[in-house]
């Protein structure tokens, strides 16, 4: 783990155009950025490309980095923006997703219909099925919801940190988490085993 002083110095040197200083920052954070982009794209090649693009963009823009947020948060923001743009371009949104996008516009009062009951059967294959389908369900979330869920649950960020990365309010993060969870539950209903 890099010390704050060391990181600041590397950022300063990178701002002056020192590639090696920037590469040290890359080596520090590349694993985390790759995991984030993978969580969002579910594709190793796309994740690697987006990680590379994230660092390229970061180097180009490092002179504008004011240090208001941490360097990692700043990198996360670039990675999430690039990933969301990528998802918007490459993902064929189903009617389901369009419905969900509409939900965000309608506001928090909108409610998804809960379908079916909760199965109480607990089978081992069910857990495996759940995991497989969870990845699929996460992929099918609207990009902004998927990014929020990924940052909060998989990256372990607080609502405040996620809000900083996503450029929205903490309340929006909270609401998106709630809606994302409802969507996931609806999708995964057949595989959920209540212990």
């Amino acid at each position: 783990m890099m010390k704050a002083d060391e990181e600041r110095e590397l950022i300063e040197r990178a701002r002056r155009g020192e590639v090696e200083a920037f590469m040290q920052l890359v080596r520090e954070y590349e694993h985390r950025i790759l995991q984030l982009t993978y969580n969002l794209t579910r594709n190793r090649e796309d994740a690697a490309d987006l990680t590379q693009e994230t660092f390229l963009q970061a180097f180009r823009a490092i002179k504008d980095f004011k240090g208001n947020s941490s360097f990692l948060t700043w990198l996360h923001r670039i990675a999430v923006n690039l990933s969301l743009n990528f998802l918007k371009k490459h993902r064929h949104a189903s009617n389901y997703l369009e419905d969900i996008d509409g939900l965000e516009e309608k506001g928090r009062g909108a409610e998804l219909a809960e379908a079916g009951g909760i199965p109480s059967v607990e089978d081992s294959w069910l857990s495996q099925e759940l995991r497989t389908n969870l990845e699929k369900a996460l992929e099918e979330l609207p990009p902004a919801f998927q990014a929020t869920f990924s940052l909060v649950v998989q990256e372990g960020m607080s609502h405040k940190q996620a809000a900083e990365v996503l450029g929205c309010s903490e309340n929006t993060v909270s609401w998106r988490m709630h809606e994302a969870r409802k969507m996931l539950k609806k999708k995964l209903q057949p595989f959920l085993s209540i212990e």
């Binding site: 590639v19 857990s127 990845e135 609502h159 539950k185």
Partner: protein, 227 residues
């Protein structure tokens, strides 16, 4: 508490964002609502499984290649000499060649664009200047052609009226003469000792400011000039 509200609080609770007094309210609701208890359990399962999602990692060799490729792209994509490269000499030379080609191509295109833009701008300036000159000349001529007659007539009328007034009103004539005299003296004094002295023989009688009839005979003056 409504179930929708409780489920929102469940979500906040899973994210560690729930205040203690809200937690108490939620707990109270959960003791009485089976649907929300099931919802909480479902969400805990989803959360647990989401944390088990595949971790992406690659061997060190993959990362080394990734970093080299990134470094090369950074140097390629940065124009000018701002980048301080630490790549091995061979790779640096290759990248310099690529950069050179890229820059020269870019330069060619950008120069071509600038040339066209400059020509267009020059043409535009010429057109604007020509249009401005045309307008100035045209308006100037128009003024010369249109103004004189009514203006001359009005001046002629005013002089005629003035001469009539002065001929009939002795006091007005003497006031005008005095005013003219004061103006001339004032201007002479303003010209200073080294200024051009205007020797005007205004031929006024000092005791009784009677105007010399010839000066005020505007009708005669005008007729001499053929107006």
């Amino acid at each position: 508490m409504k179930c929708e509200r409780a489920q929102k609080l469940i979500s906040d609770r899973l994210d560690g964002k729930l205040s203690s007094w809200r937690q108490k309210r939620l707990d109270r609701h959960l003791t009485t609502c089976e649907v929300c208890r099931d919802y909480l359990l479902s969400q805990e399962i989803i959360q647990r499984e989401a944390l088990k999602t595949e971790k992406v990692d690659y061997p060190p060799e993959w990362w080394r290649q990734f970093e080299q490729a990134l470094q090369a792209k950074i140097i390629q994509s940065t124009p000018g000499e701002e980048v301080i490269s630490v790549l091995p000499a061979g790779i640096s030379a290759d990248i310099s060649d690529i950069k050179g080609d890229k820059n020269s191509n870019k330069k060619g295109r950008s120069w071509a664009f600038k040339t066209h833009a400059r020509q267009a701008a020059s043409l535009l300036v010429v057109v604007v200047v020509a249009a401005t000159l045309f307008l100035i000349i045209y308006i100037g001529r128009s003024k010369n052609e249109e103004l004189p007659l009514p203006l001359i007539l009005s001046y002629e009328d005013s002089y005629f009226n003035l001469s009539q007034i002065l001929a009939e009103d002795e006091e007005a004539a003497s006031n005008l003469a005095r005013s003219l005299e004061e103006t001339i003296i004032e201007e002479t004094l303003l010209a200073g000792p080294e200024g051009t002295f205007i020797d005007i023989d205004y031929d006024f009688k000092t005791d009784n400011y009677e105007m010399v009839p010839e000066i005020l005979q505007f009708e005669n003056l005008n007729s001499e000039e053929g107006l």
